[in-house]
């Protein structure tokens, strides 16, 4: 099994979750109120949450490799355009 970690602006959360569901992932979890710093050096801080930009969100998906392959194009297309990071690692069910 695989573990996918996605971090991007909460503004794109719906788009990303849609892609994840469309790929048939068995589930996902979302943590909001994430702050951080990315390529551009821009800091996403909690104090900007009230502004239109919002903070970041962290999405975790445990799924099999086939699902990863299926969601890859759509998710990567969103992240390339809007920003954010996505990493995959191995994970075994307890």
């Amino acid at each position: 099994m695989k573990r996918l970690d996605l971090i991007m602006s909460e503004r794109e959360l719906d788009k990303v979750l849609h892609a994840i569901r469309a790929a048939g992932a068995p589930g996902y979890s979302v943590m909001r109120h994430v702050t951080g710093r990315g390529r551009s050096g821009d800091v996403v801080s909690e104090s900007m949450e009230f502004s239109g930009l919002g903070a970041n969100a962290h999405v975790i998906v445990f799924c099999d490799e086939a699902t990863i392959e299926r969601l890859k194009p759509a998710v990567n297309s969103i992240l390339e355009y809007f920003g954010g990071v996505a990493f995959v690692a191995d994970a075994q069910p307890l």
Partner: protein, 329 residues
Amino acid sequence: MDTSLVLQNLLSPAILFFFLGVFAVLLGTDLEIPAPLPKLFSLYLLLSIGFKGGVELQHSGLGGNVVLTISAAVVMSVLVPIYCFFLLRSKFDVFNSAAIAAAYGSISAVTFITAESFLKVLNIQSDGFMVAALALMESPAIIVGLLLVKLAARDRRSDVNAGWGALLHEAFLNSSVYLLIGSLIIGFLVAFFNPSGVEKMEPFTGRLFYGVLCFFLLDMGIIAAQRLGDLRRAGAFLTGFALLMPLLNAGIGLGIAVFLGLSQGNALLFMVLCASASYIAVPAAMRMTVPEANPSLYISSSLGITFPFNIIFGIPLYMALIQRFIPAG
């Protein structure tokens, strides 16, 4: 210019708490108003200003220069982004120019609220329909901003780009416009059909209002000061733009106010609407529809410079001008 107006403003609790927030950052304290408390305050302020505006609108009716004033406000929110865009193009690409331009065509509700409080101290009346003008200036600016992008940058990726439906949706149904207009309508309906409901809301939407504004401005001070660093990166051109554009827009606003024969109070609110820039609705829409633009440019200029400038110096300055050109009611 009347320095007593400036002092009166500087020494109001609202502005002093704003400074307290600014200095908290400059002095390096760890004061913070953790999320989602700023959101609570900003929802509360929108709900309250909308509700009270609706109640006043019902009392004053839609006659007189109401429709003209609101129309003028909407026209300004269309024109401002257009001339801002061409000015900004001298320095920025299409995307950033359009996004910044949209922010300056739109408005800042907290600047408006601070101006209202300022009027209350001076015992100058203003009308509820100005809240409607406030609400109606957000969407056109957003649409103009996006139109400018569509016209000026034709070969954008279309697979991830939102279509027109989504853009109009974001322009008219983003949460702050929706809450403001919704509360306005509720205020209107309640004042009309159910006047005792107005009274029951009063302790919450009325009496508490100024204190919550102060608390929120403390946080705005923190945020504005945190943005100052970004500005150094953004450069002198944008800083100058963020200081001078409010003055220009306020000047045009004054001209329109005189032309329409607005009262002193309404004139100040009208000028403030023209002069202020958005840091909530517009960034939300731009982030979604023009991700090529760098948010730190449009957020920092509107929130880090134009907002503080307007609430600290702009409001008393505009009032001083009004007192020269518009006779007291």
